[in-house]
């Protein structure tokens, strides 16, 4: 499964990101240090392990509080993997990369 995934990721990146494999949403509440920390951690992980085959949407609940109910957001920050199914959630500032990868069910590319 490992090689399949790799190739698929590459092709997806090269052709066109019509539908990226990973659809991620990061819920934050304003520009708190913890939110910024989570964002930078997420970027790093995505760059390193998802090889561009992803999409990240950042939702600031202070601006759009009504969006919190849909994904059952309670803790901030929360990262939601909406694709691939099933949805998974990771809460916290994503400082533990290994746990994030496990949580997102991402196999290491290396």
């Amino acid at each position: 499964m490992k090689p399949v995934k790799q190739t698929k990721a590459k092709t997806a990146k090269k052709t066109k990101p019509t539908e990226p494999r990973y659809d991620l949403r990061l819920y934050v509440a304003g520009q708190t240090p913890r939110s910024l920390q989570a964002l930078s951690n997420l970027k790093k992980i995505c760059e390193e392990h998802l090889a561009g085959d992803y999409r990240v949407e950042i939702i600031d609940l202070l601006k759009k509080p009504q969006l919190a109910a849909g994904d059952q957001i309670l803790a901030i920050p929360t990262l939601v993997r909406t694709l691939p199914k099933p949805a998974r959630k990771i809460i916290g500032d994503l400082s533990n990369t290994d746990r994030v990868l496990v949580g997102l069910d991402i196999r290491l590319l290396r």
């Binding site: 509080p65 919190a68 957001i73 803790a75 901030i76 990771i90 809460i91 916290g92 994030v100």
Partner: protein
């Protein structure tokens, strides 16, 4: 009224019947209140009723954050209580947000806080301008999140935030083994803590409520029974916090003419409590039926709680003494509520009484017999119940008539020891003498009125209860046949007296008549004598005339009469002048 001048803690009425009385005005406004208790004791319902009443009765919209059940489930659960959550949500009086955490789909990495919860709560509150919040129960979070330290500090922050927000919040918590709540929520919510309890006693479940603490306010401190029925939560006592009921001077008939007479001719006071005690078969129910019948005849509304007979049975039985209760039932003036005392717990009985009294606006309430409730709880419980019944009847101005079965030997100690609570106490007794059993009654006490001290026999006749005079014989009171015999003897005596009276009158009349006769006789004799006298006088005159005539004729014959006809002096002196 002194209280008004002092600054008082602002309170929010819950609208839950009874609770506002105990808390003297509701829950602390703008502060969180913790409701804790075991599973199934009514925490969620308590919270929901608080929200619904707030939205519908006090114009305070509410937000329900449910951590356990979905909004739909909640709506279904309380629909049977007449709470339409869906409609309240449509009309923007209520927002239900279901927050759940599934641990299996969540991973925790690094630091986080529960800002999301705050944001959602804030959004919900702002969307409808909510004044009330229910959190049911935040402890569920402990199952979903592993970082207890964060959770605790966030909960502490949440309660502080709620206070700052100025909403009146109710937070529920499951009872822990050694603590009030499993996760120690009471550490954070310290303004008001209400404990709900749920216990089984004599096979009947009793729910109880206790206000553990209420900072800044006095409150009822007892354990109060409460129950959940189709009207929501009712906490008891609803009215027995004070003795403030008014006292009517109006009198109402007992329904028995003779008994009215015993109570200075007018019957009971309206709004008073009457107790009729007696052994089995002394006519307690009949007394109650009479009272109800009299009330309905006046056009008043009455409720009869029958714990021993079905309504049909009662109506049939009362018909045998000429009381047609059926027609009052048909007219809607009388409601007979029959239930086995063991059908529910004591509180349920009391609440049913409350609801029925409010529903029928009854003027007269008969509980037959109140002693039937005794097996439903401890003597203490029953006594408290009866106290509450008496109180709330008085408070509502209804006249209460209770019957109670007493042991024949020990008439004065009622099993319920409620005699001191009632205003009028009528004792019914059986008297066994000369091989028969007869019913007597007497008024043991009747506050505020002159009442007879006589023991009276009463009969159950086809025309109702009738009181008879009781005769005192050498062996005590005469009842039954002895009384009848005595009555017959009295009648004979009376007859005899009348007869002799007649005789005497007659003899006097005879005497008078004979006197009259004598008078007539004497009168006649008198007349005869008078006649004789007259006759005698007449005779005398005639004799005189005849004598003169004789003398004249003699003189003439002797030539001594002149031509003038004058008679010459017989002694010759005539010739001298």
């Amino acid at each position: 009224m002194k209280e008004k001048s002092r600054p008082r803690l602002s309170k929010a009425l819950t609208g839950i019947s009874g609770l506002d009385e105990i808390t003297l005005g509701g829950l602390p406004r703008g502060r969180p209140t913790l409701i804790c208790g075991g599973a199934g004791c009514g925490k969620t319902l308590f919270g929901l009723e608080f929200l619904v009443r707030g939205a519908t009765e006090f114009g305070e919209p509410g937000v329900c954050i449910s951590f356990e059940e979905s909004g739909h489930d909640l709506a279904m659960n309380v629909a049977s209580l007449g709470f339409d959550l869906e409609k309240l949500q449509r009309t923007k009086k209520l927002v239900i947000d279901h927050i759940y955490i599934d641990k299996s789909e969540i991973a925790e990495t690094g630091e986080y806080d529960l800002e999301g919860l705050f944001i959602r709560l804030d959004a919900a509150i702002n969307s409808i301008g909510a004044k009330r919040v229910l959190l049911d129960t935040p402890e569920a979070l402990f199952a979903g999140l592993s970082d207890v330290g964060v959770l605790r500090s966030e909960l502490r922050r949440l309660f502080g935030w709620l206070k700052e927000k100025g909403v009146t919040a109710v937070i529920t918590g499951e009872r822990g083994v050694a603590t009030l709540t499993r996760h120690g929520l009471e550490e954070y919510v310290s303004d008001c803590v209400i404990l709900l309890d749920h216990r089984v006693q004599n096979d009947a479940v009793t729910r109880r409520l206790r206000i553990l603490k209420y900072r800044g306010s006095t409150h009822g401190t007892n354990e109060y029974p409460f129950l959940i029925d189709e009207h929501g939560i009712s906490v008891l006592p609803v009215t027995s916090l004070g003795l403030t009921h008014g006292a009517s001077k109006e009198r109402i008939s007992t329904g028995i003419a003779g008994l009215d007479d015993m109570l200075s001719g007018q019957g009971y006071f309206r709004g008073s409590s009457i107790l009729a005690t007696g052994a089995a078969g002394t006519g307690k129910t009949t007394m109650g039926a009479h009272f109800v019948d009299a009330a309905c005849q006046r056009g008043e509304s009455a409720i009869l709680f029958a714990f021993e007979e079905s309504p049909q049975q009662l109506i049939r039985n009362m018909r045998s003494i000429g009381l047609d209760l059926g027609r009052w039932v048909k007219k809607g003036l009388l409601h007979i509520e029959a239930a086995r005392p063991t059908a529910f717990g004591l509180e349920m009985h009391l609440v049913r009484m409350h609801h029925l009294l409010a529903e029928y606006k009854a003027n007269v309430v008969v509980i037959d017999p109140i002693s039937a409730l005794l097996p439903g709880g401890s003597a203490h419980d029953v006594h408290a119940l009866v106290l509450r019944v008496v109180d709330f009847l008085k408070q509502s101005g209804a006249t209460g008539f209770f019957t109670s079965v007493a042991v024949e030997d020990d008439m004065q100690s009622t099993a319920l020891s409620i005699s001191s609570l009632v205003d009028t106490w009528i004792l019914l007794r059986n008297i066994e003498v000369n091989g028969e059993r007869n019913r007597v009654l007497y008024v043991l006490k009747s506050r505020g009125m002159a009442h007879s001290n006589q023991i009276r026999e009463f009969l159950l006749t086809p025309h109702g209860v009738q009181l008879r005079d009781v005769y005192l014989g050498p062996g005590g009171v005469l009842t039954g046949s002895a009384r009848v015999a005595r009555e017959a003897e009295e009648r004979r005596e009376l007859l005899r007296q009348r007869q002799s009276e007649k005789d005497r009158q007659l003899s006097v009349k005879v005497a008078l008549r004979s006197l009259d006769a004598k008078i007539a006789e004497l009168q006649a004799e008198k007349e005869a004598r008078e006649n004789q006298l007259i006759a005698a006088i007449g005779e005398n005159e005639q004799q005189k005339a005849a004598l003169l005539a004789d003398r004249d004729s003699l003189r003439r014959s002797r030539g001594m009469i002149d031509s003038s006809g004058r008679s010459p002096r017989p002694n010759g002196r005539e010739s001298k002048p």
